[in-house]
Symmetry: C2
């Protein structure tokens, strides 16, 4: 990253972090955008799920603080700049994900002034731990967005990666736990995908 001609200090550190964050636009996910023309990147995905949170918070089981949910979603994938996107159905990748992402968080949030480093890293860890209501709802919309895009793409991504309906249901049971009405959307979409032959009930026995 080119050094900016700014005097060293708090604002220069903030700007450097923001320009480093630009690289999230080059991290590709498995999902396709809605017209199927290309893979989605993690930056535009992050924008999309922030919009989900802005509109759908009324469906959370418990009342949530939308500002905190949105801040988590803005930050939730930043570590992928170093750690890459780990596909949710990739068991080998998932085994090393935590270690890779912790190292990424050390470096990336480490660019920030200490007070902001603490707050932002705390929000990222809270999202990842899925223990607070805010983080459970943030995770729910993150997952819902992927299910909906895969449905719009007629399940092509699921088939390419040999993902089965029981895997999608298991992965997304957390959606209904955090937001029952959104869990119902997942149920309807998964069942319809099975009915249309876009998603198999059992990948092991094709």
């Amino acid at each position: 990253m080119r050094a900016l001609p700014l005097p060293p200090g708090r604002l220069a550190d903030q700007v450097r972090f923001l320009l480093e964050a630009d690289r999230l636009k080059s991290v590709l996910r498995r999902t396709l955008i809605s017209d199927g023309s290309r893979h989605e990147n993690s930056a535009e995905h992050s924008w999309h799920v922030v919009l989900f949170a802005l509109l759908l918070s009324e469906h959370a089981r418990e009342s949530v603080d939308v500002s905190r949910v949105i801040a988590m979603l803005v930050l939730h994938d930043l570590v992928e700049i170093d750690a890459g996107d780990t596909y949710v159905y990739d068991e080998a990748g998932l085994a090393t994900k935590a270690t890779r992402e912790r190292a990424a968080a050390d470096r990336l949030f480490g660019l920030l002034p200490p007070d902001q480093r603490k707050v932002l890293r705390g929000l990222w860890e809270e999202f990842d731990a899925r223990e607070s209501e805010d983080s459970r709802f943030a995770n729910a919309v993150d997952r819902l967005a992927a299910v909906l895009l895969n449905y719009l793409g007629r399940g092509e991504v699921w088939r390419t990666h040999r993902v089965s309906a029981p895997q999608v249901r298991a992965r997304n049971s957390a959606v209904g736990e955090a937001a029952p009405a959104l869990g119902e959307v997942v149920r309807v979409v998964v069942d319809d995908s099975v009915a249309r032959g876009w998603l198999a009930e059992d990948r092991a026995c094709p």
Copy 2:
């Protein structure tokens, strides 16, 4: 857009709006992403400026409500789905921009349940009017992000479109009005771009 197998009603309308919004990922801006490999799209740009607002609100001249600033920035480019991105230095495009964007807002926000339509459209109009402190700060980070990316790209986009330093200064004077320290970043970056020959003081006399 494929119809989802959801019962008609509030949640179905919200989901339909969110899937329609996905198309912002295909609207290209003049700016390049930081590695220069491709044009930036308006969805990932929107994510980036939300991150700017999350980190930089302490630099606003007047105290701002970060949640409202962020909501404006999430929504600020949605109308480009129908109206396209209008380059800030394209005078012919700017002449018809307001009309095109109002029609787009009618259609897009019109997909939402009435209460959310009112709130979201109100935020978009507030951003566009640049009269409130929140909207002035939101516009400031929107502009700052473009200047920084153009600097990282060694001014290639400015040169391609024959944009001069006085034009960039005029367009971005609003940054310093809303946030003096961020205006100083613009000043330093523009002056350095001129010094390096990436931006001309006068395009009319090359």
